[in-house]
C-alpha cells in the first residue's frame, strides 16, 4: 500500500522531528562534554591547602580509584554537595580537592566549619590548573582510575541520586579492574 504510506509520510516526519526536539529539551546545554575523559589526568604541581610546603601532583592519583572535586568557598552549590562528599569519605572513597581561585584562609575556615572530606586539597589560587582541567563551573567532579586516567566528569553539584546512578557503579568497575 504505497499510497497509504504516502499520506503517512508527513505524520512520520513530524513524529521524528518531535522525538528529536523532545530529546533536545532534556539535554542541558550547560553540560559540555569534556575531552579529558579517557585521557591521562593533566599534569600539575600545586601546594597543598593546609601545608603549602607539600606539593600535590597528578602522580598522587595513581594506585587507587579516586575523585577529584573542584570547589571554592564562593561557590554556593559546593555547599549543597558538601554533605554528600562527607558521606562518601566515610564510605572509604578517596576524594582529592582542587580549591579553585580561592583564598587560603577562607578555604581552611570553610573546611573547619563544615568538615573536611578530602585526603588532600590542591590550592589553585590563580585558576591555571583549573584551565588545564577544563574547569568552567564549580563544582566539578572527576573520577580517576588506578592508572591516573580520567574516566568521568560530573558538572555541577553531586546528588545522591546522580552519584548512585552514574559514579558509584563506575567506581566499583574501576576498582575491579586489574592494574
Amino acid at each position: 500500500m504505497p499510497r497509504f504510506f504516502r499520506y503517512l509520510t508527513p505524520l512520520l516526519v513530524f513524529l521524528a522531528m518531535a522525538a528529536l526536539l523532545y530529546k533536545g529539551l532534556s539535554l542541558d546545554p550547560k553540560k559540555v562534554p569534556s575531552p579529558l575523559v579517557d585521557r591521562p589526568a593533566p599534569a600539575f604541581a600545586l601546594p597543598e591547602l593546609h601545608s603549602p610546603e607539600i606539593q600535590l601532583s597528578d602522580a598522587d592519583f595513581k594506585g587507587q580509584v579516586s575523585l577529584l572535586n573542584v570547589w571554592a568557598t564562593w561557590c554556593v552549590s559546593c555547599r549543597q554537595e558538601h554533605r554528600l562528599l562527607m558521606a562518601l569519605e566515610r564510605q572509604g572513597i578517596p576524594i582529592y580537592g582542587l580549591n579553585y581561585k580561592d583564598e587560603r584562609d577562607a578555604a581552611i575556615r570553610w573546611l573547619q566549619q563544615f568538615g573536611d572530606p578530602y585526603k588532600a586539597v590542591a590550592f589553585d589560587a590563580d585558576g591555571r590548573v583549573g584551565i588545564d582541567w577544563g574547569v568552567y563551573g564549580t563544582p566539578e567532579t572527576f573520577v580517576i582510575d588506578k592508572q591516573g586516567i580520567v574516566r568521568y566528569k560530573h558538572i555541577g553539584p553531586l546528588t545522591t541520586e546522580s552519584f548512585d546512578r552514574d559514579i558509584r557503579p563506575l567506581i566499583e568497575k574501576l576498582r575491579g579492574a586489574t592494574g
Binding site: 546545554p29 550547560k30 559540555v32 562534554p33 569534556s34 575531552p35 579529558l36 593533566p42 581561585k101 590563580d126 585558576g127 591555571r128 583549573g130 584551565i131 588545564d132 582541567w133 577544563g134 568552567y136 563551573g137
Partner: protein, 165 residues
C-alpha cells in the same frame, strides 16, 4: 521625534557592536598584535555565558582565558596552536567555527542534503504534472460544457452591445 528615536537607537546599537566586555589592559607593543588578538577572542566561545564570545563575555573564566590567549600569543604560538590548546581542555565547544569531522557532518552537510532532497521532490512533482493529460469527458458533459460556453458568449455580447446605462 521619530527620527530622534531612531538616531538614539542606532547610536546604542553602534555601542553594542564595538564594545569588548571589560577588556584587560594588555600590552600590545611587544609580540602580540592587537588586531590578531581581538579577532581570535571573538572566534572563541565562552563556556560560562554560552552565547557570547571570549571577547564579549565578562565572566571570570573569560578574563582568565583571555589572559591565557594573550600569554600564549606573547610566547609566540600561532592561532592554530592556541585554538588547539583550548580544544584539548574544553572541547570543540569553544569554537564558533566547528571543524568538519564525522561528528559534525550533519551540521555541515545537513542543510545541503535537505536542499538536494527538496530539489528532487520539486523535479518529481513537476514531471508528474507534465505527464498528466487532460481528463476525458463524456459526450453528455461535452454538451453541457458547450451550452455553458454559448450562454457566456451570449451574455458577453449582450453586455457589449449595451454599455453601462
Amino acid at each position: 521625534m521619530n527620527l530622534l528615536r531612531l538616531l538614539v537607537l542606532l547610536f546604542c546599537l553602534g555601542g553594542i557592536n564595538t564594545a569588548f566586555a571589560g577588556l584587560e589592559k594588555f600590552d600590545f607593543s611587544g609580540n602580540v598584535d592587537e588586531e590578531r588578538y581581538k579577532e581570535l577572542i571573538l572566534e572563541l566561545r565562552c563556556l560560562v555565558c554560552q552565547n557570547q564570545s571570549l571577547g564579549d563575555s565578562d565572566a571570570e573564566l573569560a578574563h582568565d582565558l583571555r589572559r591565557e590567549v594573550y600569554d600564549l600569543m606573547n610566547s609566540g604560538q600561532s592561532d592554530d596552536q592556541i585554538v588547539d590548546f583550548l580544544v584539548t581542555r574544553y572541547g570543540d565547544f569553544v569554537l564558533y567555527n566547528p571543524p568538519v569531522k564525522p561528528d559534525t557532518y550533519l551540521l555541515w552537510f545537513g542543510p545541503f542534503a535537505l536542499l538536494v532532497i527538496g530539489i528532487l521532490v520539486l523535479l518529481r512533482t513537476v514531471r508528474q504534472r507534465q505527464k498528466q493529460t487532460a481528463p476525458e469527458i463524456s459526450a453528455e458533459e461535452q454538451a453541457r460544457l458547450n451550452k455553458i460556453l454559448a450562454d457566456a458568449d451570449a451574455a458577453n455580447s449582450n453586455s457589449n452591445r449595451e454599455p453601462r446605462s
